[in-house]
């Protein structure tokens, strides 16, 4: 196995979050009754003409600027000709030569400390097809054209990835980016964000690319990783058995966790691309690009660098906090309320909060603990109102909806005891009750100090300040 190197490139289709379709005024909302959101243009009626939705172009430019890509001032829509019942016009309006977004790149961190630059060959605009529904009517196929004409940005990477893990890191990066840019909702279940993977293998050291297979029908990052790993292994086995890999499209079957060949007939298509005479070339001026660049939000990479440089966060935490815009927004909201609690907040968000969200299957935007609530909790640790340990209890209570940190501390009487008189009284009682252990300590058995601390904390129900307890105990136990 180790003799082989895999080479992976991804084609990602991101559905752009425009309100109307790319070439018609029909709505793009998901989930409507079949064929209720398809107008004459979407239906490919005789005589109708497409009119470009400029918002889709602006979104594509936004993406291009964010990946530092070349953006041509002159871009052309082309017809991709093929027959299929859910493709109403008998051609898809796409881009072939002269896409809107040219060469660009993103950086990924597949694991802690690992940084890779992944090239993006191009990103072009196109219209989506409708859906064929094969299981609704016996011996008939239903066609729903609601999706026909929905704008897609097809993002094509260079074959720069060498493992399924890298491919997933790249896909997540693009997913995060399009959501940061607010150009795609990223919903993989509804098909708003789809990944096809081109996979090939070659012997290590070989320059020439092996024959590739294109994997389709992958609707989660988990399946993307599995599909690629399955395919890598299949191709290595083929090579080692002396057989050859066939260039083809393969569908991933999540239930059986394998890839299967599609009919080779589909591959024999000659799409007869040519510029669409119904649409004028898209003209993009430097001013258009500048305006879009200026309106760009802070991007994950910039954010991450700011977290490292200005907030002093670790590279790893900065990467995780900026991985999606909702997490970063949560962090920044909380930080606004507790500006000096940066490191604590990062640890709690990525630790306790992430764990709780994960167990509950919730997105961070639906967390029962608001950023303000978490910020208050951090402050109560910092000002010694509670200990870190008690904070976990308060966190749990906030998660259960018992209110804000201060209310819970008050209601449950969790306020840390810092009154030295009270602490001394507790310590005196513990010392008096355990004369044997006092002797052991005085005889040089330092470890017994832990026992005393434990006892005092227990007596205080965890509320005594542990540092103070430690100090006073040492003083009192001195021979």
């Amino acid at each position: 196995m180790s003799d082989w190197e895999s080479v992976i490139g991804l084609e990602i289709h991101a559905q752009l979050a425009t309100r109307s379709k790319i070439f018609s005024g029909a709505s793009t909302a998901f989930g409507a009754e079949p064929n209720t959101q398809a107008c004459a243009v979407d239906l490919g009626m005789p005589g109708v003409l497409p009119v470009l939705n400029r918002e889709a172009v602006n979104m594509a430019i936004r993406f291009g600027v964010a990946i530092d890509a070349e953006i041509d001032h002159h871009s052309v829509f082309a017809r991709k000709n093929y027959f299929y019942p859910d493709l109403p016009k008998g051609y898809q309006i796409s881009q072939y030569e002269l896409p809107i977004v040219g060469k660009g790149h993103v950086f990924i961190s597949p694991s802690e400390g690992e940084h890779l630059e992944i090239g993006i060959t191009r990103a072009h605009l196109e219209e989506d097809a409708g859906k064929s529904i094969h299981d609704l009517f016996p011996e008939q196929t239903g066609i729903d054209l609601n999706r026909a004409g929905t704008p897609l940005l097809e993002i094509v990477s260079e074959p720069d990835m060498r493992s399924a893990k890298q491919a997933v890191a790249y896909a997540r990066k693009i997913h995060s980016l399009v959501r940061y840019l607010e150009i795609c909702d990223g919903n993989m279940q509804e098909g708003s964000f789809r990944c096809d993977a081109n996979v090939s293998v070659r012997r290590k050291g070989e320059q020439k690319l092996g024959t590739r297979a294109e994997l389709k029908n992958i609707n989660s990052f988990r399946f993307l990783e599995r599909a690629i790993n399955f395919e890598i292994e299949r191709q290595i086995n083929l090579n080692e058995d002396g057989a050859s890999v066939v260039q083809e499209t393969r569908l991933y079957d999540a239930e059986r966790d394998e890839t299967r060949s599609m009919r080779s007939k589909e591959e024999a298509n000659d799409y007869r691309y040519f510029p669409d005479p119904d649409l004028l070339p898209v003209v993009i001026t430097d001013a258009d690009i500048a305006r879009i660049r200026d309106a760009l939000p802070e991007l994950p990479e910039q954010k991450k660098q700011r977290y490292i440089n200005d907030l002093g966060l670790s590279d790893y935490n900065a990467e995780l906090l900026t991985a999606n815009r909702e997490t970063a927004a949560y962090f920044e909201d909380a930080l606004g309320d507790a500006p000096d609690q940066c490191a604590q907040l990062a640890n709690w968000i990525l630790g306790d909060l992430a764990g709780a969200l994960n167990r509950a299957g919730l997105e961070i935007t639906a967390a029962p603990i608001t950023p303000t609530m978490l910020a208050q909790l951090m402050q109560r640790i910092s000002d010694n109102t509670i200990s870190g340990k008690i904070a976990k209890e308060v966190f749990e209570a906030m998660w259960q909806g018992e209110g804000a940190a201060d209310d819970i501390i008050e209601a449950r009487g969790l306020k840390q005891i810092t009154d030295s008189g009270a602490i001394e009284a507790l310590i005196d009682a513990v010392i008096a009750a355990n004369p044997g252990q006092v002797e052991q300590f005085r005889a040089g058995k330092e470890k017994v100090l832990g026992f005393f601390v434990g006892q005092v904390m227990k007596q205080s129900q965890g509320k005594a300040n542990p540092g103070q307890v430690n100090q006073v105990l040492r003083d009192k136990l001195k021979p």
Partner: protein
Amino acid sequence: MSLGVNEIRRGLAKGKFSSVEITRDYLARIARYNPTLNCFISVTDEIALAQARAADAALAKGNAGTLTGVPLAHKDLFCTDGVRTSCASRILDNFIAPYDATVVANFKRDGAVMLGKTNMDEFAMGSSNENSYYGSVANPWNTGHVPGGSSGGSAAAVAAGLAPGATGTDTGGSIRQPAALCGVTGIKPTYGRVSRYGMIAYGSSLDQGGPFARSAEDCALLLQTMSGFDARDSTSSEQAVPDFGAALGRGIDGLRIGLPKEYFADGLDGRIAAVIETAIGELRRLGADIRDISLPNTRLSIPTYYVVAMAECSSNLARFDGVRFGYRCENPVDLEDLYKRSRGEGFGAEVKRRIMIGTYALSAGYYDAYYLKAQQLRRMIKDDFQQAFTDVDLILGPTTPEVAFRIGAKTDDPVSMYLQDIYTISLNLAGLPGMSLPVGFVDGLPVGMQLIGNYFDEAGLLNAAHSYQQVTDWHLQAPELEA
């Protein structure tokens, strides 16, 4: 009856007759002569009379539009809401459009009355109107001859007085050539002047709608209604539309008119050349400055056109697949059978020929040699005209190399048929406006003269044609009809 659009308009305004009366007259003429001429695929009596009644009411109230109450006909590739739009094809024989083409909507807006939908070559592919699912159209001047195509029904209807004006479309000459062969006036405006929305596409980068009428003055009025930017057609122009009627009567004294030597070379019937010479003499008498020019790439226009138009049509006609509308074959066994038989049975021979040639020209390995090369030639043809227009204001020549030929004479020889468009086709490739007006007869059949203008100079064309028509009466000639 040989009333023109403007005469009807004046008659209605003065109350000489009502719109219902004149509409009934036209419907009666259609009923009488259409069985012989076959100009109409659909006659919309009820709609026409309802619109005429509404027009009379508007006229009575004094809030008439520019064409209120004037009966007109539409080529059957303009979509008409609720009325069959067949494109003269079996595949759309049952197609009732759920919307109006912008052109049709504009005529409604201005108050025109729709008499019906006119015959044409199937999907506008042809130069004789013999490629119609609904049969050939007869030339009113000699019913054994073709009316030209593809807008043959509209041209013949105007020539025969079955409509005072009609719409057509011109992809390679489909307004100008039938106008010439039927002895009427027709104008193809600059590409982008008239919206293509709802006009069923043949060659999208070439197609342009325009009117037929009995005179340049009438064409000016109809073109006014048809023109203008349309947000639903990205290729329509935002160029301001001048008042075409107001531009008439400027005269042509000092107008520089170029005669391309390539338009008077081999292949042109000498008798047509003589008729055109006479017309040139008239223009010279009106003060025109006649000059010789050259359009050296004229001979390349036919091969270029047939690659571009067929490539585009092969894709444009893919939507006629039997799935959502139009003809579907009986009992398809599977999807492929559904496609193959619906299209095989739905399209006629010429349409299939052009789809196949276009598909071939766009195929992998041939694209560069055909489609891309054709685009390069297209640029050269355009440059020829641009060069010529540095020296002249208008270009003049014959519209066609021959007068109307006998029905069936060229059906077995597509290339000879394609050559009918030699003088008209290059304008579509360049996107320039052109018009044809009647200037005489050969063998009792009309001869058309073509005027070519610079971009968006329809007003200049109409003015020159109008000047000529002020001193001649060829455009007033009408054929004797057999009922």
